[in-house]
Amino acid sequence: MKKTNWITNSVSNTNLLIFITVFLLCISGLVALYSASLHMEAPFFKKVIGKQMLWMIIGLLAILAIFFMQRKLLFDGAFILYWIGIALIIAPYFIGNSVAGANRWIVLGLFHFQPSEFMKIIVIIGIARYLSKNDLVISDFKSLIIPLLLALLPLVIVLKQPDLGTSMIYIILVFPMLIWAGARMYHLFIIIAPVISILTAFNFYSFFIWVLCLIVVLYFSKEKIWLAVVLFIFNLSLGFVTPVLWNRLKPYQQNRILTLFNVEADPLGTGYQVIQSQIAVGSGGFFGKGMGNGTQTHLKFLPEQHTDFIFSVVGEEYGFIGVGSVLLLFLILTVILLSVAFRLRDRFSSLVVIGVTSVLFFHAVINVAMTIGLMPVTGLPLPFLSYGGSFIITCFLMIGLVFNLSMDRHR
């Protein structure tokens, strides 16, 4: 209890704690990257680890830049920023994968700019801005539509790139924000229900269980009976129609959809990447094989080891202790951020922090779940650990945003 008070009472101490946590995560990432780039024969700053450190330095500058930015600018410009962001993520469709000339990063010359990463922040700000409107009645279902659309628009654009992981993040971050803003749980349930109906429709038992849940929830919600019946029938028929529609698709059409959901599908056969990743993690055991001794990593059985599967490198070389510590750091970071959001007086700031927390947390959970075979491979990097310029800078920007907003001079 005393500790909680210390956290809530001392803004700079909280920020210091966030900084330390992020710093430790970055260090574990660099250690893993060091291992993964051991065999590379290149000058330090040409190696993955060297480049990653450069990105982190740039990230620190970004934290500073955003820290001193006026919040009012962010609040007022939220929607303008949103449309700029949309324009940026559409841009690659028209001018190739590089947006040379359209952004300042081109100055650095070697940066592969991914606007979809920065779009995560922009979506958070946009939704937070909408939800903090003074006249918003959050208990009204209609109030949820705009935030959902704000997420769905970039989702559709990015999904077509295709980048399933990133587009999923856009929609996932909406829900904690809606919960935080006070949306009715029943409404959120109505939104999620059809998705679950479609997904469970392919297996009889899963669908059966889902229908039971649906009945229970609809029965105990004190809503109008006709609405409950309509919802029930809608979800039920969705579940029946989905497999039928799916089977009527031509195989190439099915494949097109499957490819969408399996973007990083490995070239060698089903689940090769996940299997190798699990072998790496599992063979690490409790203490790990030690730095530079991971055979899965160094003999390159482990795919994408700098980026999406960096967690497996930690798992192989530092074992349960190593990955447990990394997860613990993420847990600490998440809880601190939640408490920061809880403490903030103004809704906009609080919601932005929740958005940031969601993005960081879900990135971590989905990435880890994917590397240990709990989820299909979707290609989401692990915050602060995975190699990648746009992403690491985005993460740092989000932390900078938290620092900025937590300095709430108006509470």
Binding site: K72, F75, S132, K133, N134, L136, P176, I179, W180, A181, G182, Q276, Q278, I279, A280, V281, G282, S283, G284, G285, F286, T295, Q296, H298, L299, K300, F301, G315, E316, G319, F320, V323, G324, L327, F330, L331, T334, V335, L338, S339, A341, F342, L344, R345, D346, R347, F348, S349, S350, I354, F361, V365, V368, A369, I372, G373, L374, H410
Partner: protein, 604 residues
Amino acid sequence: MFYSQNNVTLERRNLLILIVLTLFVILIARLYQLQIVQYSRFAGIAEANRIRVISREAPRGIIFDRNGNIIADNKSQYNVNLIPFEVGQNENVYGILSEILKIPERDIRQRVRKNWRGQFLPARIAGDIDFETLTELEERRLELPGVLFSLEPIRSFPAGANLSQVLGYLREVGKEELRMIKDYGYRPGDLIGWKGVEHEYESILRGKRGYSFVQVNVFGQEVGEVRNERSVKPKFGNDLYLTIDLGLQQYAEELLGDKKGVIVAMDALNGEILSLVSKPDYSPNLFSGIVRPDIWNSLRNDPDKPLYNRVTQGTYSPGSTFKMVAALASLEENILDPKTRFRCRGSYKLGRRVFKCWKLGGHGRMNLYDAIVNSCNVYFYSLIRKMDIDIWAEYARKFRFGELTNIDMYGESQGLVPDKAFMDEKYGVGGWTEGNKLNLVIGQGDLLVTPIQMVRFAGTLATNGKLSVPHLGLRYFDRDNDRFHYFAQSTGDSIDDISASSWEFIRKTMYDVVNSRTGTGRAAKVRGLDVYGKTGTAQNPHGDPHSWFIGFVQKNEQVIAIAILVEHGGSGGGEAAGIASRLFRYYQKELVPQQFTSRGTNRD
């Protein structure tokens, strides 16, 4: 300044914290399962991932002659192998390989299928590539993922002698065969001895392949040895020593030259074969690795059958060399007093048919001794008239004609000794006449013998009835126990029911066949060496008669029996006897005294 109040409730915050904790616990639980519960399983898989077992082929045992001269040695050849999985969709590989190896793409794919052992295991696509090809492949290695070389020991034949049919050859083990012998460690693409001693002593000659463990990366490239895995060194095959005397063999091969025929020389006391020539033969170097299909087909389709071992597989009429059988039968069964004379006028009339003697003018009055020395047919016609065919056949069988000699060679023929039952069967009762008997007694007609039976026949005559089993395997060096093993020989039957005086009589006549002034085998005479022999001229429907000579010599304690056959060589007294004399002269001068014998030592 702006905005609405943050009115989030404690419940909502706790809800989110609850979700966060739940997901955190799920992840930790899964990590616990992977890293602690299933640790050993995954550790095992990770080890298996990085370690590739490389087999190291073992050379076959070296084949020596009786004196330790190398007959068949080993050399190394480079083979090209392909790992189907690693080539995968990379279709260019086939094109590049086809270009370098000069094999059509289709053939390469076919070979991959033929030698398939699994998609992660190398399948051989080319053997014995030359250095130039190897260099070219090495240069383009980056374009050829999944293509590897293997060093494989193959045969080389440093000796001047061919010994073709004696050695046999190595060929790729067939798929059918493989199913039966898989337990002995054979794999598709392995070489296995076929025919000859390579086949007969396969289990002794064959080495045991070794294994080493190398660390590989995901691309299958070797990145070093694995320290804590023990590699198994390939085990050489055991060295085999043959009874062959390389010098004699080489000389005998030269003697026969381009003629079709046979020379066999055997130690009559123990059955050790000192030389075995079957012509035409072929160079064993054609078979050092896997034989090229065109060579194989030309050998197979050659009308002179070079692959065929005339010594053990060829069946011939023995001609006059077989007269000794009737002579012994007559002596033992008292059919005719050996002093009884018949007049030979050059032909013998039986009913309306006329049976000729080889000497047109006739030999005049002949007793048994004269008849053998001069090889008079008319005498034997008269003799066989008084003898039952079954008695004659019985004596032929005493010498084990019509049976396998059990020589350690693949595919021996047993020949044929016709008796009454056989003749009745073949021609019907009453369908054959005395005339058939007349043919048989001079070694013609239905009687068939193999040269290896004939050399043993000579040996039996030389040793008063010893029936040794002819053999080529002398001993081998057992690498496991570091000592020699001699091959056990059956202690040797002997013909006990023929009296010493009869043996002596035959020996005397055989001596005079060579050494008397009128003997038909005069051409075989060697100064300073007692040569015994008998000639034969076997009529055959294909052309000139085959020329036979069987005989023996004695030197110190050794008795060497020989059989020589020159197909279509004319009279036995000419071609074959001439070769015999030169062979004996070589023996007289050059043959190293026996160093190793099989007598008294048994293989365990």
